[in-house]
């Protein structure tokens, strides 16, 4: 019954309408492929890497509108906790010393470093001048992703900002070729070598206080 109705109804259609149906069907398949492809692309590691950097840029643009340093830092703290791989940053910065610390010391240092990173960005992105971040390239490399961006400012030259991500989280930011993580590692290891880990934590706390003293 159903078959006969179907056959009858198809038979009653003109050849032109039938062709339209075929084209519509093919079009729907193509759209589905494109939709599935874009959905996959959105969740690809490269898209996740770019999404992380985009979220960070949006947070910086929002934070720059906040007047007080302490409030900017408070706004950026959860962003740094969520988007940055601070345990990895701490481990690379401390090198061999990291492995010698107990769990409590590691937690304490990660917490301190998270606060310092948030306070540092709160200090550097404090003026109300317009900022624009352009993502130029997202590239997969052997151990993660590099998101290459340009920071365009109303005043001053553009700054090249390259983000290094591992498992979708930022662990290094390179500004005009100068790596934040490499500098931190050189700086911290020099202090550990000459004065020890405990003294390093004293200095890092002092830097945090210094950063928070900014207007």
């Amino acid at each position: 019954m159903v078959d006969s109705i179907g056959v009858e109804s198809q038979d009653r259609l003109s050849p032109g309408v039938s062709r339209v149906r075929v084209f519509l069907f093919i079009g729907l398949i193509c759209l589905s492929v494109v939709w599935i492809g874009s959905a996959r692309a959105e969740s690809s590691p490269a898209a996740i890497a770019q999404g992380t950097v985009d979220q960070f840029h949006a947070a910086l643009n929002a934070a720059i509108e906040i007047d007080k340093h302490r409030d900017r830092e408070s706004a950026l703290l959860p962003v740094v906790q969520g988007l940055f791989d601070v345990p990895r940053i701490a481990a690379i910065s401390l090198g061999r010393t990291w492995r010698k610390l107990d769990g409590g010391q590691k937690d304490e240092f990660v917490q301190l470093l998270t606060q310092l990173i948030a306070a540092t960005y709160a200090g550097r992105f404090s003026s109300a001048s317009d900022l624009e971040f352009d993502v130029e390239e997202v590239a997969a490399v052997k151990q993660g992703h590099v998101v290459r961006t340009q920071l365009r400012r109303d005043e001053g030259k553009d700054v090249s900002l390259d983000y290094l991500l591992h498992d979708g989280r930022i662990f290094n930011v390179i500004a005009d070729g100068v790596s934040d993580l490499s500098l931190r590692r050189a700086d911290y290891n020099s202090i550990i070598k000459n004065e020890g880990y405990v003294q390093l934590t004293v200095y890092v706390r002092a830097k945090l206080t210094q950063a928070r003293d900014l207007p």
Binding site: R88, D102, V141, K142, Q143, G177, V178, S182, A186, Q210
Partner: protein
């Protein structure tokens, strides 16, 4: 002479483009002396210059000295086998020296001809001198043996270009203007660094690498500096246990 320097530098030990600081003790002493003079004299003078001289004029002064160094940058572009870069710099000099009133206005940049910022240190790096000892040259700042000739030449350029019309005050303006231009960078150092010597040295090395690659170092090189990256994949509490087992 160039060949001798090339062979002398290229036989040095140390990581390619990495920090190689065998003279750290004496370098630190020279850094401390220079920093004392910088804090006492140069920074106050540079800050005063920054307050008194309008931003547009500061930029104009920087443009004039950049223009004077444009010929050297162009020649080094050609020496590095980059004729387009060399030609860009030389064209910039012609445009900015004439229509830009002796280089005061950087009209070439507005026309899309960007400064290529080449020097002989970068040329030596392109020719194969990738490893070079770090030296902190008093009052000149961070350098390497490879980069020292170009750093010294940089200071002599105004005298060589201007000839008889050169006056020592030109060098004073050049030095003060350059220092004022670095106030933001040294401010970042002072805000971030616990050991300013180590911070300055590593920042210099990385910046030079960036310049050698014309702002586009190979992407994998970004990760080469962190070989142990996968070792930190585990949660750090677990890693501690692993370390204790070793």
């Amino acid at each position: 002479m160039g060949g001798l320097l090339l062979s002398a530098c290229s036989t040095l030990e140390g990581p390619a483009y990495g920090v190689y600081d065998p003279y750290e003790s004496s370098n630190r002493t020279l850094y401390d002396v220079t920093d004392t003079v910088d804090q006492a004299v140069m920074i106050p003078v540079a800050k005063g210059y920054d307050v008194v001289v309008p931003n547009a004029l500061q930029q104009g002064v920087l443009n004039v000295f950049q223009n004077l160094r444009g010929v050297g940058s162009g020649i080094n572009g050609f020496l590095q086998g980059k004729p387009k870069a060399g030609l860009t710099d030389l064209t910039r000099v012609v445009i900015n020296s004439t229509f830009g009133v002796g280089g005061l206005f950087d009209l070439a940049s507005r026309a899309g001809l960007q400064n290529q910022d080449e020097d002989f240190g970068q040329t030596l790096a392109v020719w194969g001198v990738k490893r070079s000892r770090y030296i902190y040259f008093p009052f000149l700042g961070p350098s390497t043996i490879r980069d020292l000739p170009s750093a010294l030449f940089r200071g002599a350029v105004p005298g060589l270009i201007l000839g008889r019309s050169y006056h020592w005050s030109v060098t004073v303006v050049d030095v003060v203007s350059s220092r004022a231009n670095l106030l933001t960078a040294t401010g970042v150092r002072d805000a971030s660094a616990i050991d300013p010597y180590a911070f300055t040295r590593d920042a210099f090395y990385q910046r030079r690498q960036f310049q050698i690659y014309d702002g586009s170092p190979p992407l994998d090189a970004f990760f080469d500096d962190f070989e142990d990256l996968d070792g930190f994949d585990e949660p750090y509490e677990e890693q501690e246990s692993a370390a204790l087992d070793e």
